[in-house]
Amino acid sequence: MKIKKIILAFAASAMLAGGCTSLDMDPVSDITDLNYWKTPEQFDSFVFGLHSRFRSHSWNMFLLGEARSDVFGGIPFGGEATQGMERFPYNTLNAENPGINGFGDLYQNINQMNLFISRTLHTDVLTESARNYYLGQVYGLRAYYMYQLYRSWGDAVFTEEPSLGFEVGKLAKAATPAAEIFEQVKKDIESSLSYFGSDYTIKEKKSLWSKAATLMLKADVYLWSAHRDGGEGAARMAKNALVDIQNNTSRNNLDLMDTFQGVFAYDNKGNKEIIFTIHNELFEYNLWNGNNDLFPQADYLGKFYNADGTLINTSVENNFGIMRLMVKLENFRKFLPGDTRRDVTLKDVYNKVENGKLELVGLYPHKYWGVMNGSTRVRCDDYPVYRYSDLLLMLAEAEVLLGEDPAAEINQVRQRAFGDAYDASTVGFPNQEVDKDPADAVLQERLFEFMLEGKRWYDLRRFGDSYVLDYTPAESARLLWPVNQGALTNNPLLKQTVGY
């Protein structure tokens, strides 16, 4: 085309006037695909990126793990609009109100893990040991993520292929049956363990995934199997995984903290009780991405009373939010006298009724107490995923399943919880009322220990569906979560969860 040539000649002359001849520009503030995966530092940064994104999913994971359980269900005492959050504890989720959309965004990290694994398997940039440690971490993380999908939606799409480009029209993909997802979780766990080999180090104030974390996950997964299939083998696998951690880590690095409160202290992150935690930090990241649905409004709180009848001082009780989901009042009353976990976990709020009598009206978390930034309290405590008491109680759970005596583990936890008030003859196993059924004892101990750590719903589910139906208003056909309409539109081969 002649005209094009003439035009181009002019374009070229203008270009010369501009003093530059190239349309190939390199980005300054981003790295392109061409330049990534070239140095060990890039692999390292990617692993931090995976954990950083894990952290951004922590609120969704909290909701998946606890919101539908019997922990919640109180009417928020702030009188706030609950904006549909009441559907979690009421278990009135349906296709129109799925509570969580887009599978909690979990795939946005799974895909990154797939990419990391595919690149790391074929790189020669890394040393053998670094490469194996990374793969151990990322297979473990992927197993953890897939386990969430398995427990929440059952069937789920699974692929090991990272998204490197998209061909529109060929993107629909059917879900893999739940049983296969579960097998995949187990497979990833084994891959993780074999890559870790004998490396039990836990890095970065225990805020990075480690072999111990994979073993904790393994115990959880096999306990799930054991409760369902009644298999002694599975319970044994779980127990072995936990004992493996105990045997290969020093009690100096991994043990119960002396006090329950100490576990969550802002200035003692990565303490000896932690196995794996989500790292939060002032000016870096707030707990649950700053979500404040569990906390009361400042001015409102100031009109209520402490247990001793004094007006609440909001410059002391300065952890505020807009409460949309409240812990059930009876959960506060369930703790036995002397159990330090009650006041570490919850703050009780009272209203004064006739004759100055106090009436318990509100509860909000005290577990994540945060730190002051100037005059404002900021919730930026770590969010523990696995800690040593979880190890002990899962060990107890495995022992119960194996018909062994769980007393040692349970009592270790109780002893720390009651501290000086511990009296083995009254609160020690098997002397509490609940201890008649050791499974109930473990389950209740886990409620007290892990309330607000995103575990209760999953615990009930692990112990068995009958536990879920006993403790919550959930319907048996709706123990999994519904899929939002948008997700079904985006992937026409996807089907609504059975029961919705």
């Binding site: 005209i3 094009k4 035009i7 181009l8 374009a11 203008a14 270009m15 501009g18 530059c20 520009m25 980005p27 300054v28 503030s29 981003d30 392109t32 695909d33 061409l34 990534y36 890039q42 940064s45 954990h51 994104r53 009188g79 609950t82 904006q83 549909g84 009421y90 009135t92 965004d105 946005q108 990290n109 990154q112 799409v157 998204s163 490197l164 480009g165 998209f166 529109v168 993107l171 629909a172 993909k173 970065e204 930090e281 870096e284 990241y285 700053g290 400042a298 001015d299 409102y300 009109k303 930034n373 100037g374 005059s375 208003p473 948008g486 997700a487 539109t489 985006n490 992937n491 026409p492």
Partner: protein, 1091 residues
């Protein structure tokens, strides 16, 4: 005039011509006899010339037989032949015919309207003359056909939203036209309207193709004032005015507020905890208590009492503060001033112009303000007879304090909180005293729920913009009058600065906040453009050719630096040096380049047949595999009225102009692509325990290409009665294919969406511009202009995704016609965009009989409500409530007696169908009355503010007076449901499935209102002082005027502004009115003096 000519002719013939120079004097005047100052008198073929003085007199040496051209801008040039007399009187006729309007077509070229084959609209310059505008783009509202201009905010300095022909996009914010100011690509923000000579809008693809890959959404060409040869002028303009606030809703006084709130709380929650409720509980720190003997005396101090509606045994005592915050917040009478000084002049060697402007406008809301300083300088000089150079520069500085209503928890999110002022602050409970005992303003509960007088001083935010442009160019005449080489280089530099500082403050019930956050963001953009063009003009035996070929290089560099600190020990230093914690620092750099070549050929034969060809070839760094695009355009026209057969026909007596036009062209757009998107990105996802994490934030997408618009257009220019009626009509069909469309991805891919070139959208529309001279008498004239545009968008093609119509998003509802479930809304092939889907309110259930008869066995799955027949099964179940009188009877579309999402229906569309405006100018002697109106018809607005208030989503805020008409046992025939505290927690009669959050779809249908409006945008009465009067004080021009702006809207819409809400994606709030800063009513006084 005739007499003068006669004189000349007579003299020419009666006296022998002698080739000898003599002194000629003369006077030049206009048709009214007013002398013309600065008219140029030039002997043809020589450089001998002069200009007229203040009395219109001139003196020149010329020989008998010499021809003198007498010219003045805006008048037709007259030629006189020097004869025997030594004095001449020349009357110049005004050259105001629209036909000879000169239209700029880009890259230094222009064309007469009569020869034009394209669709280019020119802004009536009256629009810019009188009104005070903080943003020059406001002038385009309702004045140019094909442009939909909507005010997004009445805050001074805000830029309106501009969309050409309905926009070419499926799922992103509609982009505005490319704005080119004197050849520089930039925005219209911060340009002084007084500096503007003309604004034109290139609409059809055959004209915009010269701007190629960026012209998809049209091109706005702005030309600023330049010096004119032979005319020296000093002009001073002043405008001063007052802005009056536009009233919003009326709110309840404290007594009514307490009545509804306490009753509403009881209805929703029973009696518990009521007294701790903000605003209407006696323990909530407001002027409210149960009456006792000890506080009874307050009744003598302005307090009032009432029976507690929740418990008739109690008496409440309270003080009414209704309206106090409203009066504090609105500055009813805010001032605007605009000063403008310009100097210009020139001779045969060069021209010069410069200007200085200062503009200041106070907003209706206290502390909002816009200040702007502009300076320009332009000059050209003839270095050699064949070489002219020109250079110019402009500078602007503007500053806007931002509102204090940002979210305090995340003050970094930019300007999100404007609407909160109009929702939250305006509806603060009337039981609260916004003043402390010592007379100082009270903080209240937050920056949004408190006294603005407190917060505006505590939370300071401001935006400053500096924009500088510089250009230098040359014009070389290679062949006289035929071949020209032009070069132009420009540099454009903008500096945007955002500063924030939060002083110590204390909210009710909290410890003082001494964080003292401070932040500063600086964004710099440096842009250079270099263009070279070769132009050729030739006319021979009726053929006229004008051709141009050129090239351009465009380079854009962006950098941004942001830092935040906290912990300054005092309020004294707002800058970052005082902070003790460095909490956040970031900087980014990015940029792109475009390389282009272009050409244009205009041809006509005897002014009858016209053809124009345009082409551009663009390459851009943002793309990789498909980097280059070719954009051609062709157009043709036929001046039928110039044909002999037409002139001879009877039609010509009535029809004076008839010109059919046809055009076809191709444009591009690449704005939807990030600078480095195609390469696949690895970007930061934040630090983790102090270690920066990277992830793959974008996948490789190298196949992306320009999106392309094909436009086919038919036009017709018509003139009647000697062009006293002049009309321009256009029909267009624009198909934009390869649309840069975000495809929602299945979740498993790990990315929410992906950009593709896989959509096609078609816009068809009709535009009409008309100018009518209704009356011309000796002292009278009356002109009317009007324009209107109609547009319809249809999605033609979408990326295949396996859904019916390849639908993305949308809502599944029951279709009674087909007796099946169908998908509405979202984006679907064959459907238009912008439909709103909601639950249809049939009426309010009057009484129990009505409930039993019409909703007896209803199950409302949206709100978890059950009809009386279902009570046995549902009563007492957690989360379930009964349907009662006063609740809404919903349209059960599918008749299954279950109200769920399938029962929704389309209740409107967010886009207007028709937009336009009209103006009228009535002149009587030296008086002129000008009026300008604009309108938009066909759009629906979701009145979220009203829904939010009547639904009491917040819990404590005051209610608008409409609540008095809500259902009660004694008011059963009404459209407003029974009032409950927090509708989203009660019956969801209003919010439905949104649970009180702000969303376009899925609310009660009765809160969707037609936004049709007609606005009186401007009315001006001006007076021009007679020349003989002002000449005595050495003035050449003097006029005064009074202007009213935005005086009223005629509309059925209930909120403050019926203008469509067009920020489709900014907050996902397209079509939603959740509180808007209304445009003020303004009254201006203006003065213009020229020396």
């Amino acid at each position: 005039m005739k007499r003068a000519l006669f004189l000349i002719v007579c003299l020419c013939f009666s006296i022998n011509m002698m080739a000898q120079t003599k002194t000629i004097t003369g006077v030049v005047a206009d048709a009214a006899g007013e002398p013309i100052i600065g008219a140029s008198v030039l002997e043809v073929g020589t450089t001998n010339g002069t200009i007229t003085d203040v009395d219109g007199n001139f003196t020149i040496q010329a020989s008998v037989g010499a021809k003198l051209d007498v010219s003045y801008i805006g008048y037709k040039t007259q030629q006189i032949v020097v004869g025997a007399p030594n004095t001449y009187k020349v009357i110049l006729k005004e050259d105001a015919e629209m036909l000879d309007e000169v239209v700029v077509t880009g890259y230094g070229m222009s064309q007469k309207r009569s020869l034009m084959t394209n669709s280019i609209s020119k802004l009536d310059d009256k629009v810019l003359q009188n009104a005070a505008m903080s943003n020059a783009a406001q002038s385009l509202q309702g004045t140019v056909s094909g442009l939909r201009v909507t005010n997004t905010s009445g805050k001074p300095g805000s830029s309106p939203n501009i969309v050409l022909r309905g926009g070419a996009s499926i799922n992103k914010n509609l982009e505005g036209p490319l704005v080119v100011v004197d050849g520089i690509v930039r925005s219209m923000d911060d340009i002084n309207p007084s500096d503007i000579e003309s604004i034109q809008v290139l609409k059809d693809a055959a004209s915009t193709a010269i701007y190629g890959a960026r012209a998809n959404n049209g091109v706005i060409l702005v030309t600023t004032r330049k010096g004119v040869e032979g005319r020296t002028q000093i002009t001073y303009k002043f405008k001063g005015g007052i802005n009056f606030a536009r009233e919003g809703y009326k709110y309840l006084d404290a007594g009514d507020y307490l009545y509804y709130q306490r009753l509403g709380w009881q209805r929703t929650n029973g009696g518990s905890s009521m007294e701790n409720q903000k605003g209407f509980g006696v323990n909530s720190g407001v002027d409210l208590a149960f009456m006792t003997d000890t506080n009874k005396h307050l009744l003598n101090e302005g307090w009032q009492s009432m029976t507690d509606p929740a418990d008739p045994g109690n008496t409440l005592i309270f003080r009414n503060h209704a309206g106090e915050l409203h009066d504090l917040t609105f500055r009813n009478a805010a001032f605007t001033q605009d000063h403008y000084l310009s100097l210009s002049g020139g001779n045969d060697k060069g021209t010069f112009s410069s200007s200085l402007g200062y503009y200041s406008e106070d907003g209706q809301i206290i502390s909002t303000n816009y200040k702007r300083v502009n300076g320009t300088i332009n000059g050209s000089y003839k270095l050699l007879p064949v070489l002219t150079v020109n250079a110019g520069g402009s500078f602007s500085w503007s500053k806007m304090p931002d509102l204090w209503t940002y979210d305090l928890k995340s003050p970094w999110n930019g300007e999100t909180g404007e609407y909160e002022l109009f929702y939250r602050t305006m509806s603060m409970f009337p039981t609260w005293n916004p003043w402390n005992d010592d007379g100082s303003p009270a903080a209240g509960w937050s920056n949004q729920d408190g006294n603005p007088y407190y917060w505006k001083d505590k939370l300071t935010r401001s935006t400053t913009n500096r924009k500088t442009s510089f250009n230098i160019g040359f014009a070389l005449e290679i062949l006289p009058q035929q071949l020209f080489l032009n070069g132009n280089s420009s540099m454009y530099y903008t500096d945007h600065q955002f500063e924030l500082f939060e002083k110590k403050y204390q909210q009710i019930g909290q410890a003082p906040n001494t964080n003292r956050n401070a932040s500063q963001t600086n964004t710099k953009v440096f842009q250079q453009q270099h263009a070279l063009t070769l132009e050729y003009k030739k006319g021979f035996s009726g053929h006229n050719i004008n051709a141009m070929v050129g090239g351009e290089y465009f380079d854009y560099q962006y950098q941004n630096l942001e830092a935040r600190v906290s912990g300054a020990p005092t309020d004294d230093i707002p800058t970052l040096n005082a902070g003790t914690n460095r909490t956040y620092t970031t900087s980014t750099k990015t940029g792109y380049r475009i390389l282009s070549g272009f050409a244009r050929v205009n041809y006509d034969y005897n002014y009858r047949y016209m053809v124009s060809l345009v082409a551009r070839y663009d390459g851009i760094s943002k793309l990789s595999d498909n980097r280059w695009g070719f954009f051609p355009g062709i157009s043709a026209g036929w001046n039928v009225h110039e044909e002999a057969f037409f002139k001879d026909s009877k039609f010509s007596e009535v029809v004076s102009l008839i010109k059919p036009r046809i055009s076809y062209g191709l444009n591009g757009n690449v704005n939807g692509i990030g600078n480095f998107d195609v390469y696949g990105k690895y970007g930061s996802v934040g630090a983790y325990d102090g270690n920066l994490g990277y992830l793959n934030t974008g996948v490789v997408n190298s196949k992306l290409r320009w999106e392309k618009s094909h436009t086919f257009e038919l036009g017709l220019d018509l003139g009647f009665f000697n062009n006293r009626v002049h009309m321009i009509m256009d029909y267009y069909n624009r198909t934009t294919s390869d649309l840069l469309t975000d495809v929602n991805l299945p979740e498993y891919t790990g990315f929410p969406s992906f950009k593709t070139n896989l959509g096609t959208i078609s816009n068809r529309g009709f535009e009409l511009e008309a100018k009518v001279n209704l009356l011309t008498r000796k002292d009278w004239s009356w002109d009317v202009t009007a324009n209107t545009s109609f547009v319809k968008n249809i999605v033609k093609k979408l990326p295949f995704n396996g859904n019916v119509n390849n639908r993305q998003g949308g809502e599944q509802v029951w279709d009674p016609k087909s007796n099946s479930l169908v998908w509405l809304g979202g984006i679907q092939e064959g459907k238009s965009l912008g439909d709103i889907i909601a639950y249809k309110q049939v009426r309010i259930l009057r009484d129990w009989d009505d409930v039993r008869n019409h909703a007896g066995d209803f199950l409302d799955e949206v709100a978890n409500l059950y009809g009386p027949d279902k009570a046995a099964e549902y009563a007492g179940k957690p989360g379930w409530k009964p349907i009662e009188p006063g609740d809404v009877l919903w349209d059960d579309k599918n008749g299954d007696h279950i109200i769920n999402s399938y029962d929704r229906q389309v209740v409107g569309n967010i886009y207007p169908k028709w937009t336009g405006g009209f103006s009228t100018t009535l002149n009587y002697k030296n008086w002129s009355l000008y009026g300008r109106f604009d309108y938009a018809v066909g759009h629906t607005i979701y009145n979220d503010l009203k829904a939010r208030i009547l639904g009491q989503y917040n819990g404590s805020f005051n209610l608008i007076t409409d609540v008095r008409d809500s259902w009660s046992e004694t008011n059963t025939e009404t459209g407003i449901p029974k009032f409950y505290w927090a509708d989203q927690n009660a019956k969801k009669n209003i919010t439905r499935s949104n649970n009180g959050t702000t969303n376009l779809n899925n609310n009660n249908s009765s809160f969707y209102e037609k936004g049709d409006y007609l606005c009186l945008r401007e009315v001006t009465l001006s007076y021009k002082f007679p020349k003989d009067l002002i000449n005595k004080v050495f003035l050449t021009d003097a006029s005064v005027y009074v202007t009213g702006q935005n005086l009223f809207y005629i509309t059925g819409y209930d909120g403050t502004s019926p203008e469509p809400v067009m920020d489709i994606q900014a907050n996902g709030r397209g079509g939603i009115d959740n509180g808007r800063y209304p445009t003020p009513r303004t009254v201006l006084f203006g003065l213009q003096l020229s020396f």
